[in-house]
Symmetry: C2
Subunit: 506 residues, 2 copies
């Protein structure tokens, strides 16, 4: 650190109301005394200090004199929040010294192995937002593919656990499930939790909301109950019912992962090592001990071949063991969407019809759920090895799982039935034949344009899974929307598309 | 490309006056119709279209209602310029489709080899600004260290040449020089050009301005002549004098490199492959055929060991050969600064005193210049192998080099003597002994705080190189400044520093 005269390095905060997601940005005039004396230039990384708090922000230079005066600066909203500062405060600005963690990142870029202390430094600086997106990207690119060995994935996972909160349920055994790379409609979680908790195991499940999909598990659960629980409330629900189905966003289980995932999306890369660290650090932080992991395998799924799935499974089990997690892997069919509904309320309806053992409940959803729940029952000694699926089916058929589901909902606040959208539109087949192809990505986009997940009842009801025989004019799917405008927006997109569902003449 | 209803995707431009360097940014209100209907979120990459022109920009979301109305958007200055748009224009916004070049980048991230077509796609998208800094960073991180083999470096170099302008001097042989990783004061270029041109070879030299240093060659030349030449003007000067000493910034010889270098700096990485491609693509684009490359080797230089220098030399020669460049490498001493002056005018004075064969001219600067010029004379058949240095010295001593230098300056517009700064301050030794250490980095910072390179005559005059015997109170260096305020700013920084020049008692 250089001691330095800092009289020239102070500017007064003006609130600009700028949302740059989690990115810290600082706005200054090109001709302000700090920029001139410090030689700051656009996109430099600048330390901004108020009292004891310091953040690192990227500089945006403002030429327009009407926005800021010479002695003022602006900050993006996230930066204001992190500094706990307010309009009119005097903030000190200085150059960022070289970060030790960037030496570690460079070491990785040059292909060397990193140890625990080095991962700790990198993850620590990520959580403190000292690394810019450019630097995060270099770290991710250098640790993708096969560039992290097993020891490194273990060290990375430990680093990620150490910087987050940890939940403690006061139980020896805590069960959990996870799915790698979601399939549309694959809403097994509420079913698995209901079956496993009904059988007497502890399964406190937190789920995410949709980021780019038409519904996440938390969105689906919000249709029927309250999912915004504090950790104290979750603990009470789990104490009483053995399980919960809450939104995980209020608990920062793996804050480093939340930041890295944003950049991974921008690069559209899936780093195996990062992914294992991401999933397992969250499970460990959530206080789980025994986890079943669903890996859908299919040509358009995240994991594309049986071989890759086996490789991934072995790594996950090994890393889990090193950090004290007992992992069991289930490889499932990842070739087509699961269930019928796409969108929060429509997916909740699928879940309820399985729980209620209704005749027209989607078989594929039920089957996946009992296989996953079965494995957990075997892990927890509630079923003999090889008989877990049958035992899970028995719990489901007995009505105990449905009873447990509604009890969990009540414990979280209330249980209510899903509503039905006021606006519907049927898309019919132009020919007769067999459904030979479904474009899941575009189907999901139609659901989102119709309002999902923001509008709970909006989405798609798919009536014809792959292999269904259809006659000309049969309904292929329905679009559900909460307003006529949204329905029209979805339809105008649909009009411009090629066939989303392909029919092969028989 | 998806055809799509675009009625909802139009907003009106407001000029915000935001300088984010070369980065394109688009500002929208969170609740504007486009953000809602398209599901845009902060930091998304958005296509902004006006007529035939389209750019890709990063989205900043503005919450403050006083800045933008619902039907307005803002753009950073570089984006406005690229779109050739103006306040009030209607701009169309849409999601960016997946870029093919990012598939290529991912291929490299996963450790595979890239071919010419793949590098062409990546470099093409870089030049068109379709890649964000996050994406550029991943490309750089994945192609650093030894991850590019020779074929890939050749392909990358070709791609970089293809996207820039090319200069044609109408000569079979065009000579050039380059220095890898500058040393402070290493202003050999004006000397080498003068000697080589005086000997009858063609050497049209373009140089850069300082980016982070107290002076670049273009800044130094600007002290004595006009350096802002069009390519037409350069051609006339070279036609007449055989050489020029112009600023290269007005000619975009390697636009991809200009963009990549910014990100490399943020990561503080030196990728050997990228560096070779950067240097050689610029030389090829500048129309050079025979290039001597100065690689200073030293503990604090860019290249730290003789071994690394030899390795780099071999690669450069091989890549040069593949793209039709004849390369000769000179390894030089990189352990201490060269000459006495630091700052444009003070360095120009060093250059002139060598050209004028003055008694007190800096020996080290002269020596380096005649070695480099000598190699070029040998390459050009103006000296027998092994006698180039002597021939260069002869040309220098004869006064022909000085005559050529002033003639080039006159041809570029005028020749004038460097001025001397009105404010000086002597820093004296606190003890007697031998100069044992010079902190070049901090010395350069003092020069910059004193006003260099913006204030031409500002900088440092170093009187005591390594090994000089000094008595107590002898002057170690002088600070030169154009205003009392800048002098005081440099001094207040100096006061807070530990000794910049260390004296060891004898």
């Amino acid at each position: 650190m250089e001691a330095k005269d800092t009289r020239h390095n102070v500017l007064k905060l003006v609130r600009l109301g700028i949302d740059a997601r989690n990115e810290y940005m600082v706005f200054m005039r090109k001709d302000c005394p700090v920029c001139i004396s410090e030689g700051f230039e656009a996109l430099n990384r600048i330390k901004v200090t108020k009292g004891e708090k310091t953040i690192v922000a990227s500089l945006i230079v403002w030429d327009d004199e009407s926005q800021l005066s010479h002695d003022q600066l602006g900050l993006s909203d996230a930066a204001i929040e992190a500094l706990e500062t307010k309009e009119g405060d005097l903030l000190r600005l200085s150059h960022l010294d070289a970060l030790d963690s960037m030496s570690d990142v460079r070491k990785k870029i040059y292909g060397h192995r990193l140890n625990q202390a080095e991962f700790d430094r990198i993850i620590g600086d990520i959580v403190n937002r000292n690394l810019s997106n450019i630097q995060l990207s270099a770290f991710l690119a250098s640790s993708t593919g096969n560039s992290l060995n097993q020891d490194e994935v273990i060290a990375l996972t430990r680093s990620m656990i150490n910087v987050g909160f940890k939940l403690d349920w006061g139980k020896d055994k805590v069960y959990d499930k996870h799915c790698i790379g979601g399939l549309p409609g694959n809403r097994t979680t509420p079913l698995v939790v209901s079956i496993v908790a009904a059988a007497g195991l502890t399964i406190p499940k937190t789920s995410s909301r949709a980021i780019t999909s038409p519904a996440g598990t938390a969105d689906t659960m919000e249709v029927v109950t309250n999912v915004n629980l504090t950790t104290g409330q979750m603990k009470n629900v789990v104490e009483q019912e053995g399980g919960c189905l809450a939104w995980g966003g209020s608990v920062q289980l793996s804050p480093a992962d939340d930041i890295l995932i944003r950049v991974e999306k921008a690069l559209d890369i899936d780093s195996e090592g990062q992914m294992i660290a991401s999933v397992l650090s969250k499970k460990a932080a959530a206080g789980s001990t025994d986890v079943v992991i669903d890996i859908p395998v299919g040509a358009t799924a995240k994991v594309r071949s049986q071989e890759a799935a086996v490789h991934l499974s072995e790594k996950m089990v090994a890393v889990g063991k090193a950090i004290g997690l007992n992992i069991d892997i289930v490889l499932t069919d990842g070739s087509q969407p699961v269930g019928r509904g796409i969108g929060p309320a429509l997916e909740a309806k699928d879940v309820l019809s399985v729980l209620r053992n209704e005749n027209n409940a989607p078989d594929d959803l039920r089957e996946r759920a009992i296989i996953l729940a079965g494995r957990l029952l075997e892990m927890g000694g509630k079923a003999a090895e090889g008989s877990g699926t049958l035992e899970a089916l028995r719990v489901l058929k007995s009505g105990a799982a449905y009873k447990k589901f509604t009890a969990i909902c009540e414990a979280q606040g209330f249980f209510r039935e899903p509503e039905v959208a006021p606006h519907k539109h049927r898309i019919r087949s132009a020919a007769s034949g067999v459904v030979s192809e479904i474009d899941n990505r575009r189907l999901a986009k139609v659901a989102k344009l119709a309002g999902a997940p923001g509008a709970m009842t909006a989405g798609i009801l798919l009536l014809t899974p792959l292999g269904t025989h259809v006659e000309e004019n049969d309904t292929l799917f329905e679009i559900h929307a909460e307003s006529q405008g949204e329905l029209e927006y979805a339809l105008s997109y649909l009009d411009a598309q090629k066939q989303i569902i392909k029919i092969k003449a028989t």
